[in-house]
Amino acid sequence: MAIDKIQSQSINLADNFAFTGTVTGASGVNTPNFFVRLGTNQAGISNEAWTKISLAHEIYDSDNAFDSTTNYRFTVPSGKAGKYFFEFSIFGKAGDNDLNRIHCRLYKNGSTILAGAENDWTNQAFRNAQMYSSSGVIDLNVGDYIELYGKLFHTDDGQFLGSGNTLANTRLIGFRILE
């Protein structure tokens, strides 16, 4: 029979407890949380311009806090300020051997807050496509918003890839850290 009531005097907090059943209601949940990605390839990427990723495909969005139709941004809902973990990646592609460099960044309220990895393949062959990921923790207040931007250095047909399975390609994942 599950214990549904404990009087405070009956537990010694210095004791060890080896539960073999399931403890419910003893922890919080990491909400808001979301996972969004590109639904289709985002083409026509201007060379060397920071370009907002149009993350229109939601895998999940616990608090409906991600705008996946207009501004493609996560906005901290009322009562949900705190530290947030974000993981983001972009998969860039260009024409045959036309992709030289790739960068990705998270913007907080329109300014860079986290920069992703970068590399330069200008003098290497087979520069058709490349993926980069990064992650970090950001302190956010109610109303703050987060957007994913990418930059491609290419000579032809730059695009961010969005097709494929749900875990790959261009995406943004985030959740609030319990404190």
């Binding site: 201007s46 060379n47 920071w50 149009s54 045959d96 960068h103």
Partner: protein, 109 residues
């Protein structure tokens, strides 16, 4: 239509600036709202170009982008620099003929 970055490079070159670093000299941004890329930050000493000044660079920028594609195609066809050194060592005339053929088959504008 040429990329904004290429037109800015052409404008800068015409005003005495040989290199533009798009990570610090000029920051371009596209908010994916249908309005295209724009200049978000301008940190060069020369004046930020007007729309008309950028439009004036359209033809030169188109040519530059076409030539960039030619350069990329040539670079791939040339092959690994180590392999080329080996080619030169073995038969420099054959190497020169191969490079010339690549250039002839991929002319710049």
């Amino acid at each position: 239509m040429a990329n904004l970055s290429t037109k800015i490079k052409m404008y800068a070159a015409a005003n005495g600036v040989a290199e533009v670093d798009f990570m610090k000299d000029v920051m371009l941004q596209d908010d994916s709202d249908g309005n295209g890329a724009y200049i978000k930050e301008w940190n060069l000493d020369i004046a930020q170009p007007t729309d008309a000044q950028l439009s004036a660079q359209e033809t030169a920028a188109d040519t530059e982008e076409a030539n960039n594609q030619v350069r990329s195609t040539r670079r791939t066809a040339y092959g690994d620099i180590g392999d080329q050194l080996d080619e030169i060592y073995k038969d420099i005339d054959a190497w020169k003929a191969r490079i010339k053929s690549i250039k002839d088959n991929n002319p710049k504008s």
